[in-house]
C-alpha cells in the first residue's frame, strides 16, 4: 500500500480525534451556568464551590484546562466521577464489556442476516422472498429503537415469557436487546446488498465466468459477492455510530448495565467527567472504525490499492 496514502489517512484521523476531544471537553462549559455549581448542586456552599474550582482547575483559562484534561486522558486518567466517587476509567472499564457484547452481537446479527437476505433477494428477484425482504426492512427501519425494545419486552418477555424482561443474567437476557438493536441495522444492510448484487450480476465478467462453465453457486458466493462487498464495507462503517447510538437507548430500555445506560444516568446526574469520557471513547471508536473501513477497502478492491 502507498505510504503517502497511509500517512494522509492517519494524519486526518489524528486531526479528527483532536477535534472530537475538544468538543467532548467543551460540553462541560457549553452547558448553561457555572460548571462547579451545576456539578455540586444547588445546596453547595460558596466555600465548597471554590475548593471544587481549585481542584478541577476551573479558574484557569480554557486552553490550560483542556491541556490538563487531555494530558490525563492520554495517561488513562479521565478524572473522578462525582456521582460514584470513583475514578472514571474504573467505571468505564466495568461498563465497557456489556456494551461491546451487545453492539458486536447486534452488528454480527445484522451483517449475517442482512447480507444473506440481500443476496437471496437479488438471486430470487421479484419472488415472495424478495418482497418479504423489502417489507421487513421497511418495517424495522420505520420503528424507533426504544419502541421496538418496549414491544419486544412486552411480547417476548411479559406475554410469552420466552426471555427475561431485562438485566444481564446470562445469554437469554442478551437475545431481546441484540435483536431489538440488530434487526434495525439488518434492514440497512439487506437493501444495499440486494441492489449491489443485482448490479454486479449484470456485469460482463459474470456472464463471461458463466460462459466458462463455473458453477452458479461459485459465481454468486465468489465472483459476485466479492465485488458487491466493496461498497457494503463502507456501509458497515457508516452504520456504526447508529448502532452505538441505538445501544444507548436499548440499554436503558432493557436495564442493560453498559456504557449507554451509564451515559444517560451521568447526563441526568450532571456527572460531567463521565459524560466527557464516554463521548470521547464513542467518538474514538467511530473514527477508528472509519479508518479501518478505508484500509479494508483497499484490501478488498485491488484497484484502490495504489502502486508504489
Amino acid at each position: 500500500m502507498n505510504k503517502k496514502f497511509l500517512l494522509n489517512r492517519f494524519g486526518r484521523t489524528l486531526l479528527t480525534l483532536v477535534g472530537v476531544s475538544i468538543i467532548a471537553f467543551m460540553i462541560l462549559h457549553l452547558a448553561p451556568g457555572d460548571p462547579a455549581r451545576i456539578m455540586l448542586g444547588q445546596f453547595a456552599t460558596e466555600e465548597n464551590i471554590e475548593i471544587f474550582r481549585e481542584q478541577h482547575h476551573l479558574n484557569e483559562p480554557l486552553p490550560v484546562q483542556y491541556g490538563a484534561w487531555i494530558t490525563g486522558v492520554m495517561q488513562g486518567n479521565f478524572g473522578y466521577s462525582i456521582r460514584y466517587n470513583r475514578p472514571v476509567h474504573e467505571l468505564i472499564w466495568t461498563r465497557m464489556w456489556p456494551t461491546l457484547t451487545l453492539t458486536v452481537s447486534a452488528l454480527v446479527l445484522a451483517v449475517i442476516l442482512g447480507f444473506t437476505l440481500g443476496i437471496l433477494a437479488a438471486i430470487k428477484r421479484n419472488s415472495w422472498l424478495d418482497y418479504i425482504t423489502t417489507i421487513q426492512a421497511m418495517f424495522w427501519i420505520s420503528i424507533p429503537a426504544f419502541w421496538l425494545g418496549i414491544l419486544f419486552l412486552y411480547f417476548f418477555g411479559l406475554r410469552l415469557r420466552w426471555f427475561p424482561i431485562g438485566g444481564m443474567a446470562g445469554l437469554a437476557s442478551l437475545v431481546l436487546p441484540v435483536f431489538a438493536l440488530g434487526l434495525r441495522e439488518e434492514a440497512w444492510f439487506a437493501r444495499p446488498m440486494r441492489s449491489e448484487m443485482l448490479e454486479v450480476l449484470n456485469q460482463a465478467y459474470i456472464r463471461s465466468a458463466r460462459a466458462r462453465g463455473i458453477k452458479e453457486r461459485v459465481i454468486i458466493t465468489k465472483h459476485a459477492l466479492r465485488n458487491a462487498l466493496i461498497p457494503l464495507v463502507t456501509m458497515i462503517a457508516l452504520r456504526l455510530p447508529w448502532i452505538i447510538g441505538g445501544s444507548v437507548v436499548i440499554e436503558v430500555v432493557f436495564a442493560w448495565g453498559g456504557m449507554g445506560s451509564l451515559l444517560v444516568n451521568s447526563v441526568l446526574a450532571r456527572d460531567f467527567p463521565v459524560v466527557q469520557a464516554i463521548l470521547l471513547l464513542i467518538s474514538f471508536a467511530v473514527v477508528m472504525a472509519n479508518l479501518f473501513a478505508d484500509l479494508l477497502y483497499s484490501v478488498i478492491d485491488p484497484r484502490i490499492r495504489l502502486e508504489d
Partner: protein
C-alpha cells in the same frame, strides 16, 4: 460431408420490450463445420451476438425462444436446463469470448486466481503442474513475462493483453467450439492484427472450431474460412471467404463487400448501403432486406426466401433470377 459441430435450425427468438415484441432472430439456419473458423457477419443490431449467446443459453431475462433447435454434435442445447448447460457444455465443450475485454475479467481477482479456477475444474492436477500449465497458457497467447503477469490484477493490463488472457482462460477449459463475439472491436487496429494472428495460430495448433462474430470485413478476410452473412435475424448467404469477396451473390453481401475500403479503392467508388437496418418491432414482411434492395420484386414482400445451394458450399436466400 462431415456432420457439423454446430447446427442451428429455424431459430426464432424475440425480446419482450415496452414497445412490443422485438423479433431479433427470425428463422436462422447456420451450420458450423468442425475445425473451421466460421465468420458470422452483419451490421450492428442484426442479431449476431444474440445468436452466439443463445448457443450457450446466456439469455437476458426478457428473451423468448419462439422455435427451432440448436444442435451441438446432435444434442439440442435449447432443450437443456441452465444447470445441464453449465455442467455439460459451458467451458468444457463451448466457450465464449466477449466484445469488451476491459470488463470481461473479474476486477478483484489476480490473473493467477482466475486461470487456476478454470484449471482446477477442467485440468485438475497438482499445484505445481497447474502452475506450469498457467505459464504455458500465457506463453501460447504470446503474452510476455507470464510469471509476473500471473501476479497482476486485470486493471494493470492493457486491452489487448486482457483479450489474450481471455483466450488463455477460455482455452484452458479445453472446449471444442469457441464463440468469439467481436473480440477485436474494442482494440486498436495494430493490436487487432496481433490478436488475430495469435488466434489463428492457436486454432491450427489445437484444432478448435471458432465461430467468429464480427462486423469488420477486414477481419473476416484475415481469419475466416467460411462466412455466414446475417441480415435482420436471418442468414442471407453462406459462402467461403474467397467467394464472398470474389463473387458475392446476395444483394446485401455485394453491398457489404463493396463497402470495404481497400488499398486500391477509389473513394468515389466506395458504396454506401442506403437506408438502415429495419426496426425489428413490426419488421418488413417477406425478405427483410427488400426495402433497401435494388432487385426488389413483388414476391420479396410476401414470403422470406430460404437458403438455396448455388454452388458446393455456397448457399443464398434470395428470389433474384441469376444467382451468381
Amino acid at each position: 460431408m462431415m456432420s457439423p459441430i454446430l447446427d442451428i435450425n429455424d431459430l426464432y427468438l424475440s425480446f419482450s420490450t415496452e414497445e412490443g415484441e422485438l423479433e431479433a432472430i427470425n428463422g436462422l439456419n447456420l451450420e458450423v463445420e468442425q475445425g473451421k473458423i466460421h465468420g458470422l457477419i452483419g451490421e450492428t443490431g442484426c442479431g449476431k451476438s444474440v445468436t452466439g449467446r443463445t448457443v450457450l443459453g446466456l439469455f437476458d431475462s426478457n428473451t423468448m425462444i419462439k422455435g427451432g433447435e440448436i444442435l451441438y454434435n446432435g444434442d439440442d442445447l435449447l432443450s437443456k436446463t441452465q444447470h445441464e448447460l453449465q455442467r455439460d457444455y459451458r467451458g468444457n465443450e463451448i466457450a465464449m469470448i466477449f466484445q469488451d475485454p476491459g470488463s470481461s475479467l473479474n476486477p478483484v481477482f489476480k490473473i493467477e486466481d482466475q486461470l487456476d479456477e478454470v484449471l482446477r475444474i477442467y485440468q485438475p492436477g497438482k499445484k505445481a503442474e497447474r502452475r506450469k500449465k498457467m505459464i504455458a497458457a500465457l506463453n501460447a497467447v504470446k503474452l510476455p513475462d507470464p510469471e509476473r503477469l500471473l501476479k497482476k490484477y486485470p486493471h494493470q493490463l492493457s486491452g489487448g493483453m486482457k483479450q489474450r488472457v481471455m483466450i488463455a482462460l477460455n482455452l484452458a477449459c479445453q472446449p471444442s467450439l469457441l464463440i468469439a463475439d467481436e473480440p477485436t472491436t474494442a482494440l486498436d487496429v495494430s493490436i487487432q492484427a496481433q490478436f488475430i494472428n495469435v488466434l489463428k495460430e492457436l486454432q491450427k495448433e489445437i484444432d478448435i472450431t471458432i465461430l467468429y462474430i464480427t462486423h469488420d470485413m477486414a477481419v473476416v478476410s484475415e481469419i475466416c474460412d467460411q462466412v455466414s452473412v446475417m441480415y435482420a435475424g436471418r442468414i442471407v448467404e453462406d459462402v467461403s471467404m474467397e467467394d464472398l469477396f470474389n463473387k458475392p451473390v446476395h444483394p446485401y453481401s455485394k453491398l457489404l463487400v463493396s463497402s470495404v475500403l481497400g488499398p486500391e479503392t477509389n473513394i468515389d467508388n466506395l458504396v454506401e448501403i442506403s437506408g438502415s437496418v429495419p426496426r425489428l418491432i413490426n419488421p418488413p414482411p417477406g425478405c427483410r432486406f427488400h426495402p433497401r434492395c435494388e432487385h426488389m420484386k413483388p414476391e420479396c414482400k410476401e414470403e422470406p426466401p430460404v437458403l438455396k445451394e448455388v454452388a458446393p458450399g455456397h448457399q443464398v436466400a434470395c428470389f433474384k433470377e441469376d444467382l451468381s
